[in-house]
Amino acid sequence: MARFILRRLGLAVITLWLISVWVFCSIQLLPGNVGRSILGPLASPTAVATLNHQLGTDKPALTQYKEWVTGVVHGDFGTSQKLQVPVRPQLTTALRHSFELALVAFLIVVPLSLIGGTIAALRLGSAADRGITITGLSLSAVPEFVTGVVLIAVFGIWLNVLPISATWEPGSGIGSQVQHLLMPAIALSGVLFGYIARMARAGMVEALDSDYVRTAVLKGLPRRTVIWRHAMRNALLPTITVIATQLGYLIGGLVVVEILFNYQGIGRLIFNAAAAHDVPMLEGGAMVVGAVFLLATLAADVLYSLLNPRIRHGSAE
C-alpha cells in the first residue's frame, strides 16, 4: 500500500507539472494582457506597454515560466501581477473558503443521497423509488445558480431568515458561518443529489442481486445485518469514486455560485486571474485545484482498496 501511494504521489507531481505547462501555454494564446486589463480598453498602447514593462509581463514567455517554476520550487508562488499582492495568502484564504463550502455541501448531500439511493433500491419499482429518482433527475437538471436565485428570493429577501451573502463578518462563530454557507450549499446539493443517489441506488440494486447477499439471506441473517454489513459495503464502492471526483468540482468549479453568493472561493479567484492574464495567480490556482483533484482521487482509491479486499490483495501481490 505504501508503495502504491508513493507511486501515485510521484505521478501526481508529474501531472501537476504538465498542468502548469498546459495552463501557461493556454494563457499565451488568449487575447489581451495584464496592462490592458488594469488600464482598460481606452488606454493608449504606450501606457499599456510601459505598465506591462513595469510589471514584468513583457518578458519572454519562457523566462516568465522559468521564474515562476523556480519560485514554486522554493515555496514562493510569486506576486499577483494584477493585484500586486503575494499569491500564497490569496490562495490559502480562497482554498479555505472553498473547503468550508464543500464541507457544508457534503454534510448535506452525502447522507441524503445515500439514504435516498438506498431507500430507492430497497423499494425498487415502488412510488418511493420513482419519487426519489425523478426528484434527483429534476434537481440535477436545474443549474445551481437557478436554485440559488430562488433560494435567495425566498429565504433571503421574502422570509429574510438567511443571509444573502455567503461571506460572514470577521470574528463570526461557527454557527454564523454555517448559516451564511447554507444557501449556496443547498443549491450545490441539489445538483449533486441526483447523481450520487443514482449511483448509490444502482450499486445497492446490484449488491442486493448478488450471490453473497442471497447466501446471507438464506443463512437467516437479519435484514438489517444483510443490508448494512454485506450489501451497503459493496454498494458504496462506485459511489465513493463519484463523491471523490465531485470534491474537485466543489473546490474549483463553482465560479457562478461564488459570484451569486459573493463568496471568495478559489473558482472565482482562478476565473478572474485567467480573465486578467495574471500568470502567477492562475498557475497557483490551477496547481491547488489540480492537487485537490489528484489527492481526492488518490484518497478514493485508497478507501476503495480498504473496502474491497480483492483490490487490496491484488495491489499487494
Binding site: 488594469i38 488606454a43 500586486q84 429577501i157 451569486l260
Partner: protein, 558 residues
C-alpha cells in the same frame, strides 16, 4: 460692477460681456465662470448686478434620500470589485476609483449634475491670456492623514506621475497631448503653475474629481504602496482593505476641514462581481446602498418606495460606428439612412425606462455648456431613409454585420438597431462577442472594435467633450473605429480645443455638430443617466457620473 471689471482678467470680462449681451444664460455664465476660476460669491454678485438671481443651484439628483442625515453609524455599500491594485496611477475602473475617492481629494470638483466647478484642495485658479498656462492657489492648512501638510511639492509630484507620457498612467487618457511630466511647477509652497502642451480652456476640469486618478498623494510616496497606506487628505482613513473582498474606513478625526467632518463613524464596502447580487444584498438588508444599478437589472428597485434611486445625468454613451472606408458605408447617404431609421425616444424608453437624453450623432451631449442645442435633433424618418438608400443605388436595402460587445445593455441595443433598420429595408446581422474578443489587441488590424464594418462601443462619462472629439473622430485618432478622415473636422476640433471663451466654443461646436450630422460617421443615440440606489432611511449619499460613491455627508435619517 466697475470694481469687479477692473480686477477681472480679459477672459473674465469677456464672459461678463457675453452674459450682458444675452448670448449665454445666467446658468451658463456661472458654470463657465467657475471654470475660469471665479468664485461662486463673485459670480452671484455679478449676476445680481446684471439684474437676476443666481439660479444655478437647485436640487441635486445626485444626492440620495430625503430628510436630515444624522451623525454616526456605519454605512454599508455594495460596489463592483476593483479590477486591479488600488494604485492612484493605474486605477481605471469603478471599484478602484471609488476606493481612491474615500481617502483622496482633488484640486477641483465638478458638480455631478450641473458640471459647475468648485475648488476643493485648490482655492482659486487663473489662466494666462491664451489658456496655455494655469496657476492654481492651494488651500492652506490642508494635511494628510499622518498630519503632514499638503504643499505644492505634493501636487507637482502627483501630476508628474500622472502626466508622464513615458509612464503607465491611466490618466494619460485625459492628460495626453495636454500636460506632460515637467509641465507642473511649484511657484511657492501654495502655488502651482501648469504649463500645457497646447492651450486648453477646460483645463480645471482635467484636475477635477472626474479625472479620478488625480487625488493628491504625498511627495515621494510609492503609488504601488498606496493600497497598504491609503494615505490621502480626505475625511476618511483606512480601517481595513482586503483584496477582492472589501474595505472599511473610519472618520478621520484630524481632517483639515474642521467645518466639514465626515458624518458616519464608519463606512464599509463589499465588493461584488456582478450586479444581481448587489441588488439582492440591498433588498435583503445586507447593504444600505448600491453604487451603480442598471435599469434592466434594477427594475425592481425603480418602483419600490422602500428605496431611493439616485439619478445623475451623465455624458456616458454608446457609439455605433459605421466604417466610412468600407462598403456599404462609403456613401454618407447610406450612413444617414441608417441613422434616420432609428427611433431614439423608443430606444431610450425600452432600454432605460426614459432615464437617458437624446443623442444627435455627435459627442456634444445636452449637458455640455458648449453644446449648441439649436442644431435640429435627428428624428426617425423611414421615407427619407428609403429615399436616401434609393439615391445611393440601394433601393432594395443591404445587409451588414453589427459587431457587439456582450456587456451592459449593448446586446439589447443591437436588437433595437436591428428592428429599426429593418423598417428601412436594412438587414442587420448581429455578431455578439465578449469584451475581450471585441477589443482584441486594441490596434488597427487586430481588433473587431477598430476593424468591423459596424460596431457598438461603450464610452464613459466625461465632463468636457475634448477626449470624445479627439480619439474616436480625428483622422489620426487611436480609437477611430469609423475610419473617419475629414480635414475640415480636424481643423474645427483644433480650434475648439484652443478656444477659451464659451461663445467661441459654442460657435465651433455648432459647426462640428452640423458637420457630424451630415457625415454621420458614428451614431450617438443616447447619453444615459448614472443610477445608484439606497435604502429610504439613508440620505446625503453623493454618486458621481464616473462612479464615485461619496459618503462624507451621508447618514441615516431614522
Amino acid at each position: 460692477m466697475d470694481d469687479i471689471r477692473r480686477t477681472s482678467s480679459e477672459l473674465e470680462n469677456h464672459l461678463i460681456d457675453e452674459m450682458i449681451a444675452g448670448r449665454i444664460t445666467r446658468r451658463e455664465f456661472v458654470r463657465r465662470g467657475t471654470v475660469m476660476g471665479m468664485s461662486i460669491p463673485l459670480l452671484s454678485m455679478i449676476v445680481a448686478a446684471c439684474g437676476g438671481a443666481n439660479n444655478s443651484g437647485g436640487g441635486s439628483g445626485s444626492t440620495g434620500g430625503g430628510g436630515t442625515p444624522k451623525k454616526g453609524g456605519t454605512i454599508k455599500v455594495a460596489i463592483v470589485v476593483p479590477t486591479g491594485a488600488i494604485n492612484p496611477v493605474t486605477v481605471g475602473d469603478q471599484g478602484g476609483l471609488c476606493m481612491l475617492g474615500q481617502v483622496g481629494e482633488f484640486l477641483t470638483i465638478a458638480d455631478p449634475e450641473t458640471l459647475e466647478l468648485a475648488g476643493h484642495l485648490a482655492d482659486s485658479w487663473t489662466p494666462n491670456a491664451d489658456a496655455s498656462e494655469w496657476t492654481f492657489k492651494l488651500k492652506s492648512g490642508v494635511t494628510f492623514q499622518d498630519g503632514s501638510p499638503m504643499t505644492s511639492a505634493d501636487v507637482v509630484y502627483t501630476m508628474d506621475l500622472l502626466s508622464d507620457s513615458k509612464g503607465g498612467s491611466n490618466a494619460l487618457s485625459v492628460f495626453g497631448g495636454v500636460l506632460d511630466k515637467g509641465g507642473t511647477t511649484a511657484v511657492d509652497d501654495l502655488t502651482v503653475k501648469f504649463t500645457l502642451l497646447a492651450p486648453n480652456g477646460n483645463f480645471p476640469y482635467l484636475v477635477s474629481r472626474d479625472n479620478y486618478n488625480a487625488i493628491i498623494i504625498k511627495n515621494g510616496s510609492d503609488p504601488k504602496d498606496f493600497q497598504n497606506t491609503f494615505m490621502g487628505t480626505g475625511p476618511f482613513k483606512k480601517e481595513k482593505y482586503t483584496t477582492q473582498v472589501g474595505a472599511s474606513f473610519v472618520r478621520n478625526d484630524a481632517y483639515w476641514d474642521k467645518a466639514n467632518p465626515a458624518l458616519p463613524d464608519r463606512v464599509e464596502f463589499t465588493f461584488y462581481e456582478d450586479e444581481p447580487p448587489q441588488i439582492q444584498a440591498l433588498q435583503g438588508g445586507t447593504v444600505d446602498c448600491v453604487g451603480q444599478i442598471s435599469v434592466s437589472g434594477g427594475r425592481a428597485l425603480l418602483t419600490d418606495p422602500a428605496y431611493t434611486i439616485i439619478d445623475v445625468p451623465s455624458t456616458a454613451h454608446r457609439q455605433v460606428h459605421m466604417r466610412n472606408d468600407k462598403a456599404p458605408f462609403t456613401d454618407k447617404r447610406v450612413r444617414q439612412a441608417m441613422a434616420l431609421s432609428m427611433d431614439r425616444p423608443g430606444i431610450i424608453e425600452a432600454l432605460f425606462a426614459g432615464k437617458a437624453k437624446l443623442g444627435n450623432d455627435s459627442p456634444f451631449a445636452p449637458q455640455y455648456p458648449s453644446t449648441d442645442t439649436s442644431v435640429p435633433q435627428r428624428a426617425k424618418d423611414i421615407e427619407q431613409a428609403k429615399q436616401l438608400l434609393s439615391d445611393a443605388g440601394m433601393a432594395n436595402g443591404f445587409s451588414v454585420t453589427l459587431n457587439t460587445e456582450k456587456a451592459y445593455e449593448i446586446p439589447d441595443l443591437a436588437l433595437q438597431i436591428q428592428a429599426n433598420a429593418k423598417e428601412a429595408g436594412i438587414n442587420v446581422n448581429i455578431l455578439q462577442q465578449s469584451p475581450t474578443v471585441y477589443y482584441g489587441d486594441f490596434t488597427f488590424g487586430n481588433s473587431p472594435w477598430l476593424d468591423s464594418t459596424m460596431g457598438i462601443t461603450d464610452y464613459a462619462h466625461r465632463s468636457v467633450p475634448n477626449v470624445l472629439l479627439g480619439a474616436p473622430l480625428l483622422s489620426t485618432g487611436t480609437w477611430n473605429s469609423a475610419h473617419f478622415k475629414n480635414p475640415t473636422y480636424d481643423g474645427l476640433v483644433k480650434q475648439y480645443f484652443g478656444a477659451t471663451d464659451l461663445q467661441t466654443q459654442k460657435g465651433i461646436a455648432k459647426q462640428i455638430e452640423t458637420l457630424l450630422l451630415d457625415e454621420t460617421p458614428i451614431m450617438f443615440l443616447y447619453f444615459y443617466d448614472f443610477l445608484g440606489a439606497t435604502k429610504k432611511s439613508l440620505a446625503g449619499v453623493v454618486i458621481t457620473p464616473v462612479g464615485h460613491v461619496q459618503l462624507e455627508k451621508a447618514g441615516f435619517t431614522t
